[in-house]
């Protein structure tokens, strides 16, 4: 009887969204368990930080300052470019603008099944995190939020087979959709014909077309292009720019305009 019950549950969960609410309700009490596990590990991290020598910290500080200087110099150029870009876009009456609100979130130090490509963040609905928000790390797009509980949220990484992300080539603006590939931990471009000009080394960034991910963040680099003429489409693999299994701190981004505003704009 229990077995039948669980089979029904699995089918419901796979095919429909009916169990999502239940999942959210049931996960809330389990959140404390995740924090319980994560806490001593963070503590150990903190203690080892306290132990690190003054000299090492000074050196690191110097390094970081130098880096900040460099980044600031680049920022100056970027600010000018951005304002110019926004100005041009307002001239064109386009609604997509680059900057949005961001919040830094930490990954909870908990593992899931190794074949589940999801991570858990320490920000939840208390911090206004909601389903569908994109998550970035320092190098690129990591994924999007698929489940929120009061104090945690679950992120589906872009190499999950259920994830799809609209991208475009920086070299020639070819648009495509990158989906996760469960066998190689990379991303795959779907429905790209053999004649399309995509080469190894091309960088793909988000195109912003799905309105889920903001425009212009790096997604991945082409690592292999295979033209098997027996197949209808070319087989193109991307290596994600974000370090999906290494980053500990990530950014949750609220795209500048709310979805309703964008829709209004589109309808207008």
């Amino acid at each position: 009887m229990f077995a039948v019950l669980t089979i029904i549950m699995m089918i419901l969960d796979q095919r429909t969204n009916t169990l999502n609410q239940m999942r959210v309700v049931l996960t809330a009490p389990l959140t404390s368990l995740q924090y319980l596990v994560s806490w001593p590990i963070n503590l150990i991290d903190n203690v080892s930080q306290l132990m690190s020598s003054r000299q090492a910290l000074l050196n690191e500080n110097l390094d970081l300052k130098a880096q900040q200087l460099l980044l600031k110099a680049q920022m100056q150029r970027l600010v000018a470019l951005e304002s110019e870009n926004n100005q041009l876009k307002t001239l064109l009456r386009s609604s997509a603008q680059i900057q949005g609100k961001m919040v830094i979130a930490q990954l909870l130090a908990v593992d899931s099944d190794p074949f589940i490509r999801q991570v858990i963040l320490d920000k939840g609905s208390h911090d206004n995190v909601s389903i569908g928000l994109p998550v970035l790390d320092a190098n690129g797009v990591m994924g999007q939020i698929i489940q929120v509980s009061p104090a945690t949220s679950r992120v589906m990484l872009i190499n999950d087979p259920q994830s799809g992300i609209p991208v475009q080539d920086t070299r020639n603006n070819i648009r495509a959709i990158a989906v996760g590939d469960s066998y190689s931990n990379q991303l795959r471009l779907v429905n790209i014909s053999h004649t399309t000009d995509i080469r190894i080394g091309d960088l793909f960034v988000t195109s912003g077309l799905g309105q889920n991910y903001p425009e212009g963040y790096p997604v991945g680099e082409v690592v292999s292009v295979v033209h098997d003429l027996g197949l209808a489409f070319a087989d193109i693999k991307l290596q994600s720019k974000a370090r999906l299994d290494q980053s500990r701190q990530v950014l949750v981004v609220w795209p500048n305009k709310s979805a309703s505003e964008i829709k209004e704009h589109k309808n207008a």
């Binding site: 669980t6 699995m10 419901l12 169990l19 368990l33 074949f115 679950r154 469960s182 299994d245």
Partner: protein, 160 residues
């Protein structure tokens, strides 16, 4: 009552051990802690920890792992069913035979999960996936003796 508490604490510990992050090279070697504890209680007190308990524990594991809801629950119920079937015999087995039996059960559990993952098209991609059942087997004597000593101690305390 005290026994329920003991069962609860042992499962709590098993859940924590399941969540503790492991270094990259060791992720496939994580033993099936919850399955081990479940087998132990199935064997030693089958009237308390039965298929219903297996179902609840499995669903909790699904929620924590973010896997398909009911996936681990199903695998645990089926495995637990066989353990309960053979409960009287497993209890009497010498340790070596018991250990082998546990390996078989954990292997069955992993096989079921492998099948379900196959159905939804997200198979684990290395052969190392199966290593977990062997690690579980090696840990069984330790887990069983620790739980047994706790049980004995709590019983002594109850008597005094």
């Amino acid at each position: 009552m005290r026994k329920w508490l003991l069962i609860f604490i042992s499962f709590l510990l098993a859940f924590m051990l399941t969540l503790v992050p492991m270094p990259e090279w060791a992720i496939w070697f994580r033993p099936a802690w919850i399955m081990l504890v479940l087998i132990y209680w199935n064997v030693t007190s089958p009237q308390r920890v039965n298929l219903g308990a297996a179902c609840i524990v499995g669903i909790m594991l699904d929620l924590l792992n973010g896997t398909l809801l009911g996936e681990h629950a199903f695998a645990m119920i089926v495995t637990s069913y066989f353990v309960l079937k053979m409960q009287a015999r497993i209890k009497m087995f010498p340790l070596l035979q018991q250990t082998f039996c546990v390996w078989l059960m954990v292997f069955l559990y992993q096989l079921l999960i492998y099948c379900i993952q196959g159905f939804i098209g997200e198979l684990p991609k290395t052969k190392w996936y199966w290593a977990s059942s062997f690690v579980s087997m090696l840990l069984w004597p330790g887990v069983a003796s620790i739980l047994k000593s706790f049980k004995r101690r709590s019983r002594l305390r109850m008597a005094s």
